[in-house]
């Protein structure tokens, strides 16, 4: 029987402006260094950045989740460590260090074994023909802390729950028996299996930081200032403005029906060129591709973005553009919590 998911008192959320992501992976590194360096989770990236069009991480995650394109449950897949996640690389540091200038056979730093896939494997490949329509963009991904989480509904042990105070979706690893139905079911493939401790593990939205009004590490460390964090009900906060007021931030794969709380400002792109190198006016990133990721709302979102950008170009004011530009980085995060300790 499907579980009832109670609406939390508040819902913390994140918006990522894909027009500003430079693919530096600082977010992934910040997250990983903070939460996932153990041997059982060394392959995991609670936050990853993938090049689109591309296969992503884990490979082909959009085809292996537990939801159909109409939001129905289907049997998902637990990704393989070698072919879909990519085993964490071990390097031949000792051999390289042992090599000196006089050595006849010089070794170079390389991963042991013969890896065939990994996070960011197809970075910057994209698609299209240069210079007419070649294109790619970066898609940073993390757990969406959905309003109706597929992972929560997949656990026969009720080991996954949504916190009442902020809607963060968490795994109670004391209850988890490592069945991995959650890994199968999440269509975003953002629940991982700690194969050493044999329990599920996932993004906790840097919960201890949120409690102290500090944004998650992925957001705070982002050099591109593309991440916004706040509560959905805070009308003065960036989330409400981008999602509800201007309606430019939209969820990834809304058709799965899980009501994500991570939103994206979709990428605008330069026009395609014709045979003579003249701009055609047609978007270089095909709208059909963006629609496949973000649904039909992507059309309206891009129209608003183009209109507001045009206003700004003409010297008019635009609250939306000012917010997205992040003139004042502090405006990106608004996490007022009356229960937070004073951090000195």
């Amino acid at each position: 029987m499907r579980y009832e998911v109670t609406t939390p008192k508040r819902q913390v959320a994140m918006v990522l402006d894909l027009n500003k992501c430079l693919g530096c992976h600082t977010c992934s590194v910040a997250c990983k260094k903070l939460w996932n360096t153990d041997s059982g989770t060394d392959y995991t990236y609670w936050n990853n950045v993938e090049t689109h069009p591309g296969r992503g991480f884990p490979a082909d995650w959009q085809q292996t989740g537990g939801r159909t394109a109409t939001g129905d449950v289907k049997q998902g897949k637990v990704p393989n460590l070698d072919t879909e996640y990519g085993r964490a690389w071990q390097f031949n540091h000792k051999n390289v260090i042992a090599t000196d200038a006089s050595s006849k056979k010089k070794d170079w730093l390389r991963p042991k074994g013969d890896p065939s896939w990994g996070p960011n494997w197809d970075e910057d490949e994209g698609t299209g023909t240069y210079p007419q329509d070649n294109h790619y963009f970066y898609l940073p991904r993390l757990c969406n802390h959905c309003a109706e989480p597929a992972c929560l509904d997949a656990c026969p042990r009720k080991a996954i729950y949504k916190r009442d105070e902020d809607g963060i979706v968490l795994v109670n690893q004391d209850r988890c028996h490592g069945y991995r139905f959650c890994v199968e079911a999440c269509p975003y493939k953002k629940v991982y299996f700690d194969h050493e401790r044999q329990v599920a593990a996932k993004c906790i939205f840097c919960m201890p930081r949120i409690e102290e009004e500090v944004a998650p590490a992925c957001a705070r460390q982002c050099p591109g200032r593309l991440r916004f964090v706040g509560y959905r009900d805070d009308e003065d906060g960036p989330i409400h403005k981008l999602v509800e007021k201007y309606k430019v931030a939209i969820p990834l794969h809304p058709e799965y029906g899980l009501k994500p709380n991570v939103f994206y400002v979709p990428p605008m792109s330069p026009p395609k060129l014709d045979d003579k190198g003249r701009p055609t006016g047609e978007s270089r990133i095909p709208m059909s591709y963006l629609e496949g990721l973000f649904g039909k709302e992507v059309h309206r979102s891009l129209e608003i973005l183009h209109a507001e950008r045009a206003k700004k170009k003409q010297g008019q004011s635009s609250e939306l553009m000012d917010l997205l530009i992040a003139y004042d980085w502090n405006d990106n995060f608004k996490l007022d919590n009356p229960k937070a300790r004073e951090v000195i």
């Binding site: 029987m1 637990v78 997949a154």
Partner: protein, 182 residues
């Protein structure tokens, strides 16, 4: 000593807690493990219980992998006269037993009061477990000096998981009800 062949059935996924398993696995109606040989021996309070089943591709190591599931078997007994077998007990009608996994050195003691409530704990003293895979079969033998609930009700249920078929949790082959052992 009592020997019997159990024709196993697939545990009904339609009863599984949550919305995913019951839908995603609704076509799993055939038992992956068709039968198991059960051998029980009782002397005073002492019990020896042996389960043998076919496992063509045994899975006894899942370390350092994400998508492997171990072979396993469990023996459950009721702790009350009316503890239901199909739901692994119910509130105040607990079942208890022993859970062996091919990738673990020691089995667990288990206790449940309904689906999704099973609690695992370290096996208590007085238990001995031997497991062997040979010729395409697992043979797992449990011995105990005393099992009060089994002494009282003299019935048990058997569950078998085939790791190679990604069976775990509620995806399992089970005896079709409590099995009398005396």
């Amino acid at each position: 000593m009592k020997q019997q062949t159990l024709n196993l059935v697939a545990a009904p996924t339609s009863m599984q807690p949550g919305g995913y398993v019951m839908k995603a696995y609704q076509s799993s109606i055939e038992a992956i493990t068709a039968s198991a040989e059960l051998e029980t021996e009782n002397a005073g309070k002492r019990w020896r219980i042996q389960v043998r089943w076919a496992a063509e591709k045994p899975v006894n190591d899942i370390s350092s992998e994400t998508d492997l599931f171990p072979d396993a078997c469990a023996i459950l007994v009721p702790t009350t006269a009316d503890a239901p077998w199909i739901t692994m007990g119910d509130k105040d009608k607990a079942v208890e037993g022993i859970l062996w996994r091919a990738d673990k050195d020691q089995p667990w003691s288990v206790r449940a009061e309904g689906l999704g409530t099973m609690e695992r704990s370290a096996i208590t003293e007085g238990w001995k477990t031997e497991a062997e895979w040979t010729g395409g079969y697992w043979t797992v033998t449990f011995s105990t000096n005393n099992w009060a609930a089994l002494n009282q009700f003299k019935q048990l249920a058997v569950a078998v998981w085939q790791g190679s078929a990604r069976e775990r949790g509620g995806l399992k082959s089970v005896s079709p009800g409590w099995v009398a052992v005396s």
